[in-house]
Symmetry: C2
Subunit: 308 residues, 2 copies
């Protein structure tokens, strides 16, 4: 298995300043695997759902090479449900409802066929659950990417520190980087966080782009200014899926290739924002992706500054 | 005269979450002309001060080629004074005190030697005052850049519309772009604002960089993640001064050169943030500026994405 992803597969009810939709298909692992499916055709999904999740979506995912031997389906139970409301700037949101449902007792099981994976994406979940996945993979993957959030910093600090020490790339937003490091400057925050274990840190800034740090350097990927943002839900997970999917496709984990992967992830995330739920990820063509990446390239391109 | 700048020359009292300084030298035109002085040696300053403004600073500015025939000194009166307090993110602030003093009755006079200027920078001031300067320049300059703020949108909308119709480049921040256009999407906001008159729009996003729009395209300049931000006061004006200073030096107002000028302005602004007031602008060397611009170049540089 080239890529394995763990995370939620769920329903979201989403309210933006401009529209509202109930029970859209969502979940971190849904966005991650769908985004990655544009780059790799053999990925494995580790998650849990109830018997309320639409079979057509599972079939759609299977047809994209997303193996579901790691997906537990709990009869008579309900899938994870999240409801949130975005602020006017669409860059921040309030959680209205979190119904854990099947997630409350989620014990991930890594099928044997997944245990030799090259790339492992640990989507946002309780750090102890993320650690349970790492513990079931005897041979260390080439690259382990972990996404987390402020909630786990608040209630599961020690578990989070343990799992962060085991991974290669951490993805969080700017406020989370400040909370995790207790530093205001993102440069200092990055230095402290990289001392906690990860070799790379990605700070996601939503409509303001993303920063990729290693110990020596920093790379800045812009976000594409969009004509219309329908719904940013899943943009961060789509970013992660595009990022690790591109790395898994190219089998190259150099810092130079990670820069490209950050651009690819940003391009993929920009599509997700254009419609509610993962709809855009399902209809996207290779041509659209290539054209969008071209837009990202030209967005920051300028000719050399000679005269001073 | 190559470049003429109008704006405040003032004192600022500044409180950040980390430090506090009283009566630092400030003012839009101070930052604009000092930043531009690294690129052009013949600029003219149009402003007004009281007799409380330090003579040494005026001499320092003169030694950098900043002509002061347009600077009115009001005996027995006080210079403009602003006090503000930054929020924790340093990207937003509250105004605590605004003492207009000499600014209350400011009637700008454009000396004859300034009337043939190639580049005109209208720093943030009442739109009617900005218009008074335009009205005194019989031959249209090559490029007129205008900076403004939400305050004038609130209280002087019609005056602002009149002056915006007369300029080439408007610089505002993202919230102001939304207020001015009544559009949330910055892409749509830019389209509406460019229909109001300007050929170019620069949206300044502070620590998140800047966007340059013309009718067809958009360019994104990152902000350099800084180890330490001491005080962002004057960063926007420094950006404007570096931007127009570079254009005035190169005498090239193509969109391609404006992209470079946005990078130069961003580099200059990053220096201003490193210390309180315009201190960094006074000690900067050409070598430091060149090295900083190099950092901006490498910040967004990545190799071509071939495989997909």
């Amino acid at each position: 298995m080239n890529l394995v992803a763990v995370g939620t597969v769920a329903f979201d009810s989403i309210e933006t300043p401009f529209a509202k939709k109930d029970r859209v298909i969502g979940g971190a692992a849904t966005y991650i695997t769908l985004a990655a499916s544009h780059f790799v055709k053999n990925s494995g999904l580790i998650s849990v759902i109830g018997d309320d999740f639409p079979e057509e979506m599972l079939q759609e995912m299977k047809s994209r090479g997303i193996d579901q031997d790691g997906l537990q389906i709990k009869k008579g139970e309900k899938s994870f449900f999240w409801a949130g409301k975005y602020h006017y700037d669409l860059n921040s949101r309030d959680t209205l409802i979190t119904d854990l449902n099947v997630l409350a007792n989620f014990d991930p099981i890594v099928p044997e066929a997944y245990q030799n994976c090259d790339f492992l994406m640990l989507g946002n979940l309780a750090p102890a659950v993320q650690m349970r996945v790492i513990d079931q993979i005897p041979n260390r993957p080439k690259l382990v990417v972990l996404d987390t959030m402020n909630f786990w910093m608040d209630i599961a600090w020690e578990d989070l520190m343990k799992v962060i020490a085991k991974i290669d790339v951490l993805t969080i937003n700017d406020e989370e980087a400040r909370q995790l490091s207790k530093e205001h400057s993102l440069v200092r925050a990055a230095r402290k966080i990289l001392a906690m274990g990860p070799k790379y840190l990605i700070i996601k800034k939503g409509e303001h782009g993303a920063l990729l740090f290693d110990k020596e350097s920093v790379f800045f990927a812009p976000a594409l200014p969009l004509e219309e943002v329908a719904d940013p839900t899943g943009a961060g997970d789509t970013f992660a899926g595009g990022f690790i999917g591109y790395l898994a496709q190219t089998q190259n984990i150099s810092f130079d290739n990670m820069k490209r992967a950050v651009i690819v992830g940003s391009a993929m995330a920009s599509f997700t924002c254009e419609k509610f739920g993962p709809e855009r990820l399902l209809e996207l063509t290779k041509e659209e992706i290539t054209a969008r990446i071209e837009q990202f390239v030209s967005l920051t391109e300028f000719e050399q500054i000679l005269e001073l």
